[in-house]
Amino acid sequence: MNTDTQYLHEVAESDYEHGWSTDIVSDTIPKGLNEDVIRLISSKKNDPDWMLENRLRAFRHWEKLAADTDKYPRWAHLQYPEINFDEISYYSAPGSKPRYESLDEVDPELIKTFEALGIPLEEQKVLAGVAVDAVIDSVSVATTFKEELAKLGIIFCSFTEAIENHGDLVRKHMGSVVPHTDNFYAALNAAVFSDGSFCYIPPGVRCPMELSTYFRINQAGTGQFERTLIVAEEGSYVSYLEGCTAPRRDEHQLHAAVVEIIAHKDAEVKYSTIQNWYPGDNEGKGGVFNFVTKRGICEGTGSKISWTQLETGSAITWKYPSVILKGDHSIGEFYSVAFTKGRQQADTGTKMLHIGRNTSSSIISKGISAGRSNNSYRGLVRINKGAENARNFTQCDSMLLGDRCGAHTFPYLEIQNPTAQVEHEATTSKVGEDQMFYCQQRGISEQDAIKLLVSGFCQEILAKLPMEFAVEARKLLAIELEGSVG
């Protein structure tokens, strides 16, 4: 029992691997948020007028929300100090020159950053066949494979480029799934976002490779506010990967992203995330506040959106990747592993909104809490009045590693149609004693047995990640579970 606790302490205290920062010249605007800042960001981004209008509209809305602290979102099972929005710089770009024509122009330090992060931007990735869009602080620095994809009519570029070159597409879809009025952080993002990724898959095209974006917050005192917009036209398919890291900083950093997905008739979008933002130290000092709005709409008949996530980072995670099942026969999926340790707090889950007929959704959530962390699943399943024959299956399993952490489950089931079949199951337990005994009887040490069993607990979800990503996810999880020794 004692060695058990000891190991769990080690787990809880193990280090953050990506906690360094890169010494690169960056263009960071002064802290604070007001209309001038919005205009400044907009001018730095060379926004067209409509985009500036969008930003201002969003900002005015956010101002109204921010003026009344009663309107701050506080319903989540999270405790954190009030964020002072005037203490954040809302724009930071690496280098004074915001965009690069080729990798050669990129600051070599930056390339090193990506390499250290395990993101081989060049040869290895060519072999691996992954197209990468990397967003550091607020600006997209490199997009590989653009040309190969362009031959198929696939657009995969930074949000800034998309506004410039595909303005109509962006204008049509941006904010259609997550309007700026959706919530506090969505409003903030719509006002100050500086870059992100845009992805468009034309009708009938199966994207031949995984598209991937890596996000990193580098500059101190900055927030990151990126947007991702994915449009999958009729009969298309894309698998999209997203990874995040941030350096170790003593102060909290704010990340408020928005992801929108639109899946038309028979289209399928698979969105996978490995979130490893800096979680703060064991006393809760520093760490990223991760307030993210991710939502997809299954617009067309037979469309499918699938979210898979491994959440190990951030001091605070507030994130509910959701699916609006509007098209008949559409499918929504949410598969999640959330691991918290130290003083981390995660409140994550999904919303499945069934509107069309014969829609179905699956939710599998695995939460693991260690140290003094709190890990909550919060999920809504709503079957609307007209959603005939809707199906939902939800399974939430929580595991506690240690007796000073919390694991919570808050499902909301709102059923307004009698033909619905909705099933929710949840369990909370610790690592099985009989399983531990079995492993140890085979000579496996207590620590290794815990790791083995916890990985097994998550296996079902990790197996849903694309191959290469799954390997990375397993490694990350193993590191997270590893004691600080060695």
Partner: protein
């Protein structure tokens, strides 16, 4: 002959209920001992105590294993020292792949013995060889440990692990229970192939049936937490004929 296990006056209880009331038993290298007895006599408790299951409280006595105090060791330490328990009810480990599990187990044991850890390829080769020994469906290796296995498959998997880990003392806890005749035969076959001059076996069983296939050197009958009779394989046959009541009646008389 080299002694592997020396049990002297072993007493153990579960939730304050005494189960073992003084067991004395010596197992030498190369010997196969069968432990028989009626339900509730304490035979499975003996297996659990030897393996180090913390649900059981040791109240007295000593267990010497290769000259060391076995009761002082942790569960995994015992295993690395070469004590293997084939579980009566093997545990399912959802999501834990059999090969990964084996790799960790085999290399933990090897490391302890000062051997080089096996790489993936070597391990696979070894696994293939050992699986053939007990006619284990190789597809099972690709699944999670014991998950969705039939009763027979689970038991074969136990013997397969025995073969992989090459223990000095192998304890089989009612490995024959719930097996059909074909599975019984192949499990027994596997065990016979694993009998060596260096290894000792403690085979716990309720029925004589298994002993038709694995011929023991010694048979002990446990009743009421004590070994009440010891003999050779003839004792097992006599038990088969006369039932456990015979031993208990004789004891009472």
């Amino acid at each position: 002959m080299k002694s592997i296990l020396e049990i002297r006056g072993l007493k153990a209880s579960v939730e304050d209920m005494p189960i073992l009331r003084g067991i004395d038993l010596t197992v030498n290298a190369g010997e196969v001992h069968a432990i028989m007895g009626p339900n509730g006599s304490g035979k499975s408790t003996l297996a659990s105590v030897l393996a180090g299951n913390e649900d059981y409280e040791v109240d007295g006595g000593t267990v010497e294993y290769l000259g060391k105090d076995l009761l002082e060791m942790d569960v995994d330490e015992r295993a690395r020292e070469g004590v293997f328990l084939a579980f009566q009810y093997p545990i399912e480990l959802p999501g834990v792949s059999t090969m990964n599990f084996l790799k960790q187990a085999v290399n933990s044991v090897r490391e302890h013995r000062g051997q080089k850890p096996l790489g993936a390829a070597e391990l696979l080769r070894l696994a293939k060889e050992k699986a053939a020994l007990i006619e284990l469906d190789t597809r099972l290796k690709q699944r999670s440990v014991n998950q969705g296995f039939s009763g027979g498959e689970k038991k074969r998997n136990e013997i397969f692990q025995l073969a992989m880990l090459e223990p000095t003392l192998a304890i089989l806890d009612e490995t024959d229970s719930g097996l059909d005749i074909d599975a019984l035969r192949s499990v027994a076959n596997g065990v016979n192939l694993l009998r060596t001059q260096e290894r000792g076996f403690l085979i716990i069983t309720h029925y004589q049936r298994l002993l038709n296939y694995i011929v023991p050197d010694f048979v002990h009958v446990i009743a009421g937490g004590r070994i009440v009779r010891s003999g050779d394989k003839e004792l097992a046959l006599e038990l088969e004929k006369r039932g456990y009541d015979w031993v208990q009646e004789e004891l009472a008389a």
